[in-house]
């Protein structure tokens, strides 16, 4: 049995460089937990957490916004397989979220599984499509966040701001 999932999670998804400031604003590169996080005034402990959040936001709100060719992209250091892997005194392991992202991508992306299984399509090709899909939803989510921030920056002063963003969005 072949496993698309295993292949997919070795990838490192990217985001548009214009959103770098959002990452710097809301999360801490290389990570900061607990008091450290609070001290720095960040919502997210790591960059990828924000990435995951933006993905789901875009997913639920159906903001599919592909990154144009030629746009500058950047990424962070952790491939998907490491996301949520760290357990500590104050954090739990949430690597299970990787599967959810994967299943969502499978559901939403037009991939020719038949062709894949026949061997007509390369595995890498499919994974590439999945990643592209991932980046597009995330891009959409990031743009929602950026818009909100420009609109009412004070919204992000509440500790429940990101929770509310997700809860308010129901998938269409």
């Amino acid at each position: 049995m072949e496993n698309l999932f295993e292949k997919w999670k070795t990838r490192l998804p990217k985001y548009r460089e214009v959103y770098k400031e959002l990452f710097d604003l809301f999360s801490q590169k290389y990570g900061a937990e607990g008091e450290k996080k609070t001290d720095r005034g960040k919502h997210f402990s790591t960059h990828y957490e924000l990435y995951i959040f933006a993905f789901f936001l875009g997913l639920y709100k159906n903001e599919f916004s592909p990154i144009q060719d030629g746009e500058k992209k950047t990424d962070f250091s952790q491939t998907i397989q490491y996301w949520g892997n760290k357990t500590s005194l104050i954090r739990k392991n949430f690597s299970g979220i990787q599967e959810n992202i994967f299943t969502a991508l499978i559901a939403k992306t037009e991939i020719d599984l038949v062709a894949l299984e026949k061997g007509d399509l390369d595995e890498d090709e499919i994974v590439k499509q999945l990643i592209r899909s991932m980046e597009s939803y995330t891009n959409g989510g990031l743009s929602i966040i950026k818009e909100k921030y420009e609109d009412s920056p004070n919204y992000f002063l509440q500790p429940t701001c990101f929770l509310n963003l997700i809860l308010e969005s129901s998938p269409s």
Binding site: M1, F53, A104, A107, K118, G119, L163, P171
Partner: protein
Amino acid sequence: MIIKKIQIENFLCYYNEKSFHFEDGLNIILGENNEGKTKFFEAIEWLFNGTNTQLENLVSSKKFKEITFEESFKVSVSMVVENTNGEYKISRSFLVNKTKNNDIETRGLNFEGQETDLATGRRIPINGQELLNAIFPFQIREYSMFKGETELNIFENEEALPNLINLFSDAKPYQKYTDKSRFLRERAHQAVKESTEANQKNQRAYNILESEIFDLEREKERLNIFLSSTEDQKSKLEKNIKEAEKFVDNAEALSTINELIKKIEEKITYLNSKIDDNYTTSLFDEYWILQNFEPIHKEFVAKISEHSKRRRELQSQFDQQIGIRKGEEKAKAELINNIIPLPIGTPSKAHMEEMLHDEICKVCNREAKVGSEAYSYMMQRLTEYLETQKINDSELDTKETLFKFDYTNRLENLSISHEDNLKNIRLIETKIKDLFEFNDKKKKEIESLKEELEKQIKERERILGNSKIANEDKLLSIFKNYTSWQEDLKDLNKDFYDLEAKQKEILKKIESKKEDINKIDENSAVAHLLKTREILNDIENIFTDTKEKKFDEFITKLENKSNKYFGQINVEAFTGEIKFSKKRIGSDKVKIEISLYESGGRYFVPGTAVRTSLNISILLAISELANEENNETYPMIFDAPTSSFGETKTGNFLNLIYKTSNQKIILLKDFVATNKDNNTLFIKSEFNSINRKKAFWVKLERPFDDKDLSTMNTEVITL
């Protein structure tokens, strides 16, 4: 003795001659602050006590400004009094002139007395000091003039009252009896001794006993001194403790409240720590981010399910094709001469079945009966055809497959496992709600605790504010001191008890030695002398005891009268009583302690107003008793004795004072008010209802400049 007239001339703010004519009973002098009231009091003080230095400071600036060089004027204060013996005048005066440099020069300081013979009207000069001592003795003056409310606290000195009682009471005359009887007894004792000594036989024993008694007496005296000083220490300590007790109640309450406050703060901290507000983190750690994931999951499931079906479909079609080809090859091999057979399924299954049934080949029209070769061949053909319709995996050529890879299996697994997880996802919404509720509850608890905390902090401030020491540290240190003072007092009490025990022992020893001497005396001295001595001894005891009794009776009377006045004039409506308790230290020192007890019997520390009422009650009681005992009264002069009372209570007080006998001159600032429109002073109408014999108003002549003394001239208006 009553004061009939006081005349003040060019003294401080009293320009030229100003007179007050007083009557027996209550005389009130009203005046706004700094307009001559206290200066009046000071004038009388100067008259009585005088100061020889700094006379320049007593001179009326206004008068001095008026005169020229070479001119001079007199500064004087004089008083005319009347008592049972006649009318007298005392005056103190000096002359003032201006130097060339405009300086003040004083001379001719004079203190003179004068007696007016009521019969002839003749004025006889008397020595001023002697006259003053006669008509208004110093010890009495000490308890008759009070400047301000705090000066009334004379009884803080525990010896003040015994002195007063000795002054005024019935016990006074008895003093000379005790003195004289002691003298008589001592003389008689001496006589006996001399008589006994004449008898040589007893001399030595007598001498020994006498010296022993002498030593014991000395020891007794020493003990008295210790007792006295221990008593003083105890007194001081007790006073400190009583003062501190005012605060200690507060300090104890303060300590309790600090404990309480600490507990509340700890609880708040604990509750804060319990609040879980890691909302963003929980999106991941608790998978809250999946709350809306179910539809997506369903999409996934549907897609995979569809794909799986499609895959099977394709596979099946594929397999079917392979099966058909296979069947065809097989059929091909069985035809004669290897000729290409007709495709499988030609003739069709239905035709074949028909032909077999009819046992005839309807293509070539020949019989094919059951068991014949033609029948068997047709049957076989049909059977093979039917076989190819069944897909047989094992006959498939492994070289030829449709799907090289199987991703579906894993994907299906994902689908199933996440289907199980759906129920968890469905719980997320409730979990989030529960958490918010939990946090809210904690927050509400914290809020109500914070309210409680504020209340306690306010209470703490009130306690600190109520105590005269608003500094928390000082209060707590007083509390600490208080506890150690209590310890010290315990020790002192023990010392005192021991000393008293020792003293008792010595007195007993002295007694027994004296008895021994008496025995010797009895055996030798002349009986008569002995008897005399005995009677005189008894008389001395009788006199001493009677004096003591009178003293005690006076105290009881004083206590009753004081309580009577206290009940009337006490403006704080304190229901309790004054108690005097006598303490005899050593053989001749007496102290009287004044305490206040609430009706429950609890000791009470009075505040200012109650203390003033207390002191004035006692003074009035003493004065009244003195009057009853001695038939001579003395005036009392109070400057602002009730400043802490307020106007209404002062009014009540005055009306009560009015009823007491003997002359009183009271200076007040109450009942004087300012008219807001024209800024002038006036006497309030309430004053009309105040009972008094005479009333005056001292006020500065307007206009005046409060920075220029030479504009000050106090006018005396009789109301």
